[in-house]
Amino acid sequence: MTTQAISITRIAKVGSYFDWRSWVFWLIMAVWSIPLLWLMSMSVRYNEDILSVFEIIPSRISFRAYAEFFNDPLWYGALINSLSYTTMNMVLSVAVALPAAYAFSRFTFSGDKHLFFWLLTNRMAPAAVFLLPFFQMYQALGLFDTNYAVALAHMLFNVPLAVWILEGFMSGVPRQLDEMAEIDGYSFGRFFITVFIPMIRAGIGVTAFFAFMFSWVELLIARTLTGPNAMPLAVQMATTSSATGLDWALLSAAGVIAIIPGVIVIWFVRNYIAKGFALGRV
């Protein structure tokens, strides 16, 4: 039988029966969502209304912006580019990080602490610092303006992120389990795939989400390594917004579309978001 966990509201409720705490919270969240709602409302308004009339509830609605987005190869192409290099990066980062995280979690080896710290420094490295060298390196490799360039470059901070988060989850699995599998006769490979990975499914899911997210939102490196062919959505939005005579509705629509991937997955990782940002350490 579980003891009934008393919530913080019980302590703070000084006699009042109306739960003021939740009201204040949902009020703050309402204010917090204004910018996003404003973006959505702009994406369904006419450009001329946007620039001339100040109205909170749009008087006329049109889905022209979305239609144009999905018909213009420049835009939907950018979306496909973004999706392809982020997915590629996600898969590569997690695949490469899995064995390393296991090594960090299960073994001590010479230089392990320093390596683990060095990985953290890469996660924290300022992207601006790597502009120049990336630009030259990927041009020299002939990878410039391809999705592979951005996918590979983003591994700079996504692989360390993946190693740290996975190591955080893996350390939750007792070491005796590995030993018992060895005793039962499992080879390392079979144990890793059929026993260990199913146990950290949640960890792999969360790591994939965060690798995807950091790659999806990044602008600087993506812009530096892409030209017209591999132009991702973020860069496409940034470049059009600097030219005069903007199509605000289309830009807002692109913005809304750019949010959708994150919103779809966030429900599944909602309990691990803090753990993900704190590199598996909360």
Partner: protein, 312 residues
């Protein structure tokens, strides 16, 4: 008992990561270091400059101004985001479907691409058609394109809107880790809500708050996309943070040597904070941190108690 086995064969498992990150980090850093000490006119014609570029950086007023701007920016956003994050975390529902819904809604700003955040706030702040711009314009003239204070205000507000949820989620995770017994004990002791916060919650949130502080400091210190799109560093250089300036020097002015030296200094400043962050993150994992089991003298009386307590 730390069961980690000593096994240098583990290097084979770690090798792929080392290769990948070396390729994406060490080689580029080497080229940056290379540029920071030479002036390169063409691949064959280079002039060794020694620490000349670094001296230029240290004395370049634009860079110093950008550095100070970054410091002020980071301090301001921390001063707002940490307390505001704690308040939101304290207000979040703890149980049932409301808690799940709250987690998702609070986290939404964190998954929005940084450029979309910049674009949204740029429109929002327009005095003619933006909700924020129009609202402020009623009281006083508001123009982020020309008034530095307005641009800076919007930039800080944008960052608070974008990243306070991270602090809230970290603190929320910290609060949920506190066992119920502490709240029950506090209510038995007749503690007020204020003293529960001060004496039960805050001490237990120390580590999580350190993580939030360091994470937010480093990310704000390296910020690029949102201010770049919001104001492009303008009006003038009032919102020109270091990342924007570095990109200008490297890509627009194409002054490679200076950009490389600037990059190295920038990178080293961040590493210092990463080291502090690393120590905090691995605080309870270090062997020294766990109390060594002290073996008290086995007095006969304790044996009897142990045997009886355990077996009968």
């Amino acid at each position: 008992m730390n069961l980690k086995k000593k096994n240098n064969r583990a290097w084979f498992l770690v090798l792929p990561v080392v290769v990948v990150v070396a390729f994406t980090a060490i080689i580029p850093l080497m080229t940056v270091a290379n540029y920071s000490v030479q002036d390169i006119f063409s691949p064959t014609n280079r002039l060794y400059m020694g620490l000349d570029f670094f001296r230029q950086i240290a004395t370049d007023p634009a860079i110093i101004a950008a550095f100070q701007r970054n410091l002020v920016f980071s301090t301001q956003i921390l001063a707002i985001e940490i307390p505001l994050g704690i308040i939101i975390a304290k207000l979040m529902p703890r149980h049932g479907w409301k808690a799940a819904a709250a987690l998702v809604i609070v986290a939404i700003p964190l998954i929005i691409p940084w450029n979309v955040v910049g674009t949204t706030w740029r429109v929002l702040a327009r005095p003619d058609v933006g909700l924020l711009g129009v609202a402020i314009n009623q009281f006083r003239e508001f123009d982020i394109g020309n008034t530095p204070a307005d641009a800076w205000f919007t930039m800080v507000l944008m960052d608070v809107w974008h990243w306070t949820p991270l602090v809230a989620l970290l603190v929320y995770a910290g609060l949920r880790a506190i066992p119920d017994a502490y709240y029950q004990a506090a209510s038995i002791d007749g503690a007020s809500a204020m003293s529960v916060f001060r004496f039960v919650e805050l001490p237990k949130l120390r580590r999580v708050l350190m993580i939030a502080l360091l994470l937010r400091f480093m990310d704000s210190f390296m910020i690029y996309a949102e201010p770049y799109i919001l104001t492009g560093g303008g009006p003038g250089t009032s919102t020109e943070v270091m990342s924007i300036l570095l990109v200008v020097i490297a890509v627009i002015q194409f002054d490679l040597g200076k950009a490389a030296a600037f990059s190295l200094i920038y990178f080293l400043v961040i590493q210092i904070f990463s080291f502090i962050f690393f120590t905090v993150l691995t605080l309870d994992e270090r062997p020294g941190a766990t109390k060594k089991r002290n073996r008290t003298a086995e007095s006969a009386r304790d044996d009897v108690a142990r045997a009886i307590g355990g077996s009968r």
